[in-house]
């Protein structure tokens, strides 16, 4: 049996770890509240943009616009959103796993995929898996503003126009609620039309554009891409804090369990040492008399 001193030292160390995890849990709870509110407010724009662009495109008929058809050699650009810090349970590894192992990406060749990593964890994880990191933007994940998303989307669209990349994806973690976060991969460009709208069913009136279609789409698509990235950032941040809160909560309660069992062990060790001492004294006294 471990000595009393060892047990005590171990217990103290776990107690201080527990204090840290408890503090981290509180911090991420506060952050979660803020991020959640922000994600919910941005979700309206995100969803509305998706719906509007899809309905707009389904009404335009056959527009042969460079943004709507793949060209180039099939290189894919994926914006992968993770966090800069760990201790958030499976949050980061789930996003990385989404890229490596999933039906959607099963036939992707890592060599033909460029990763635009937001957050260091995705960068490290995917570089290890053999993906090429085209760009990394670790600062964008802290308090992102719309301009961050715009900057990234401008960069991507420039490459898209030049034919260097032919598809743009975003990998992020959707925030369903505080405990459910779903790693999601969506294709941003070329725009994916919802099944029921793509065939033109249920479309009542053709859409007019002012200015002309091509020019309008030139202006709308960049906004669409930027808003998709922004929305994904917001969702990911809320998920990150949710995941960290959960991870820290279970770490705190695990520490509590360990402290309890160590306290029990400590008391037993103390009891047995007292018993042993008494036995020795009695044995010594009997030997003398």
């Amino acid at each position: 049996m471990a000595s009393m001193r060892d047990i005590k030292r171990r217990k103290v160390s776990i107690q201080s770890t527990q204090q840290i995890t408890k503090a981290m849990k509180l911090v991420s709870t506060v952050r979660l509240q803020r991020a959640k509110a922000k994600a919910e407010r941005s979700r309206a724009y995100f969803k509305c943009m998706q719906k509007t662009v899809a309905s707009m495109l389904s009404r335009t008929g056959n527009v042969n616009h460079p943004y709507l058809s793949s060209k180039g050699d099939g290189r894919k650009a994926v914006v992968v959103i993770s966090s800069n810090r760990g201790l958030a349970g499976g949050f980061n590894s789930n996003v990385v796993r989404l890229m490596i192992k999933n039906d959607q990406t099963a036939d992707w060749d890592p060599a033909s995929v460029d990763i635009y990593a937001i957050g260091n964890k995705a960068k490290d994880g995917l570089a290890r898996a053999g993906f090429g990191i085209a760009d990394s933007d670790p600062d964008a994940i802290d308090e992102p503003v719309y301009d961050d998303a715009k900057r990234i989307s401008d960069k991507l669209l420039e490459k898209f126009r030049a034919g260097e990349i032919s598809e743009i994806y975003v990998a992020y973690t959707e925030f369903k609620n505080t405990v459910t976060h779903i790693p999601t991969l969506i294709r941003v460009l070329p725009v994916e039309l919802p099944e029921d709208e793509a065939d033109g069913a249920g479309v009542s009136a053709p859409m007019n554009f002012e200015p002309a279609e091509d020019e309008s789409l030139d202006l709308i698509v960049p906004k669409y891409v930027a808003s998709m990235i922004y929305g994904a950032l917001m969702q990911s941040i809320a998920s990150e804090n949710g995941a960290r809160m959960q991870a820290m909560d279970s770490a705190t309660s695990n520490a509590e369990d360990m402290i309890q069992s160590l306290a029990l062990q400590y008391n037993r060790a103390r009891q047995s040492s007292i018993t042993q001492e008494l036995t020795e004294i009695i044995a010594g006294a009997e030997a003398i008399s």
Binding site: R41, S42, N208, F209, K223
Partner: protein, 133 residues
């Protein structure tokens, strides 16, 4: 109300306005437009400027919008604005300063000036000042 349509003005960070409106006026890059119910389906690009919402009971609400687009679908109008501000949220002094700066830049045209950027900055500043006054 018979003559109202559903209006949604959405920004990336909030739902700016949601309600029934009888008329919406704003600036597009093709010029100023006014939209009533049953407007033909149309997509327009917003230019920096003032937006006036006339609600069903006739009250008018002004706001400044910069960049974005608007989708008109008969009974429903959606404005997706990258930035939208109520008059109370605008810092007039800052807008005045931005206006002066942009004007100066357009006048002197120092080398390396992005003319298009200076012009939109000027438009934005003018829109902000207009909405407050």
């Amino acid at each position: 109300m018979d003559n109202t349509f559903k209006l949604q003005v959405i920004c990336p960070d909030r739902v700016f306005y949601e309600g029934e409106a009888s008329m919406l006026e704003l600036n597009t890059i093709e010029g100023e437009v006014g939209i009533y119910k049953h407007h033909v389906p149309m997509t327009m690009i917003i230019a920096p400027g003032a937006m006036t919402i006339t609600e069903g009971d006739g009250t008018k609400k002004d706001a400044a919008v910069h960049s974005g687009f608007i989708e008109v679908l008969g009974e429903k109008v959606t404005v997706l604005a990258e930035v939208a501000e109520w008059p109370g949220e605008i810092d007039v002094e800052r807008a005045e300063r931005a206006k002066e700066r942009a004007e100066k830049r357009l006048e002197e045209k120092p080398t390396g000036t992005d003319i298009a950027r200076a012009q939109t900055a000027l438009q934005r500043a003018i829109a902000r000042i207009y909405v407050v006054k």
